[in-house]
């Protein structure tokens, strides 16, 4: 599947179908995140149930604490 992730086209391995799996693939599951799927906020409780489809636009912002 091909999605647009933070503005860049990426090809995902076939086994990734949900937002939760996408976050695990990028090792972001333990981070504090804001996730958007096709211009709508994806809430944490929905990460497992929200499925991705070809051409989806996903934006992920993760928090860091430095400065």
């Amino acid at each position: 599947m091909t999605i647009q992730l933070n503005g860049k086209k990426v090809n995902l391995p076939g086994e990734i179908s949900s937002i939760r799996e996408l976050l695990a693939f990028y090792k972001l599951e333990n981070q504090i995140l804001v996730v958007e799927l096709n211009k709508e906020i994806a809430y944490k409780e929905q990460y497992s149930t929200q499925l991705l489809s070809d051409g989806d636009m996903v934006e992920i912002v993760h928090f860091v604490g430095g400065g």
């Binding site: 933070n6 934006e59 912002v61 860091v64 430095g66």
Partner: protein, 316 residues
């Protein structure tokens, strides 16, 4: 703009960058608060400081004031050497028009966020590590606050001191923060948009976060209690008598995954010992023992503020 009063919390990389821009822009009053002194390793990114400042180990707040006064003698610079926490932040916010986030840890940010919302002062969040950073404006009563977005204190072992940070990402984040300040001071409305950048990978993300405003938020919800301003939620420091060590006890529970933390810390600390109960390591001249509940013992100092600074350099 000349009547505005901006406070910058932290005079490290982000604080140096935004202070210089705000001073040159002619913001009439700038207060800069920091607990630390200038070290050689800061000079790669903290643009207000010189080798001379590092040699003299000048407090950053003092060195910053001296430099900013050279840049613009027509504005007023106040410098405060203090370790900001939930008990002292409110007294610093009198007559403040805007707060610029330039701290290096989440605990201080959440205290500042509580105070900003309580006193209805815009707070411009900014943070960066390595080549990545993020920023968004918090406008009390309008946008979500930091607490709406973070429901617990993160415990990730990636900080500027362990992973490093490159100066171009600092400039980008500070540039967006200062733009937000200038927009606010000229009466423009700020949109609830969080932006992140990775300058090394040339990546950018942008999300409208209005939907994350939480009506039950303990900071900005209908029944706000401002938890990070309460005494119970402050990290407590106990001097361990006769041991040249300080014990730090976080006020809010902070479950630390010792194994993943030890992975993150590899390369930036030495002598790591990990067992199911604790992680022990050496960092600079200090020995640090971290427990799963977030408690820590910092050996090699008997100054609580130094111990806190070291803790925040290891754990965000």
């Amino acid at each position: 703009m000349q009547h505005a009063h901006a406070i910058i919390i932290g005079a490290g990389a982000l604080g140096s960058a935004s202070a210089e821009m705000l001073a040159r822009a002619g913001v009439g009053n700038i207060t800069i608060v920091d607990r630390d002194y200038v070290e050689w390793s800061n000079l790669q990114r903290q643009q207000l400081y010189s080798e001379e400042d590092a040699k003299k180990k000048l407090p950053k707040a003092i060195a910053a004031k001296t430099r900013l006064e050279q840049l613009n003698s027509e504005i007023k610079i106040n410098s405060i050497i203090a370790d900001i926490n939930g008990l002292n932040i409110e007294e610093l916010l009198k007559d403040i028009s805007v707060i610029i986030d330039a701290t290096d840890n989440f605990e201080t940010r959440l205290a500042v966020n509580d105070a900003a919302v309580k006193h209805n002062i815009p707070f411009i969040f900014g943070a960066c590590v390595a080549s990545y950073g993020l920023t968004f404006p918090i406008i009390p009563e309008k946008t979500p606050c930091l607490h709406c977005l973070l429901n617990h204190l993160p415990a990730e072992g990636m900080t500027c001191d362990t992973v490093g940070v490159i100066s171009p990402i600092v400039q980008i984040i500070a540039a967006f923060q200062v733009t937000n300040v200038l927009q606010l001071l000229t009466g423009q409305e700020l949109l609830p948009i969080i932006q992140s950048f990775d300058i090394w990978k040339n990546e950018k993300a942008e999300i409208n976060i209005q939907g994350l405003k939480n009506n039950d938020c303990p900071t900005c919800g209908e029944q706000a209690t401002f938890p990070y301003l309460s005494f119970e939620n402050q990290t407590k420091a106990d001097v361990l008598c006769g041991r040249d060590a300080i014990q730090l006890r976080p006020g809010t529970s902070r479950l630390i995954q010792l194994e993943s933390l030890s992975e993150h810390l590899k390369g930036s600390v030495s002598h790591i010992v990990l067992n199911p109960y604790l992680l022990s390591c050496s960092f600079e001249e200090y020995r640090i023992v971290l427990f799963k509940d977030g408690r820590a013992i910092i050996h090699g100092t008997n100054e609580p503020s130094k111990a806190r600074a070291i803790y925040n350099r290891i754990i965000q």
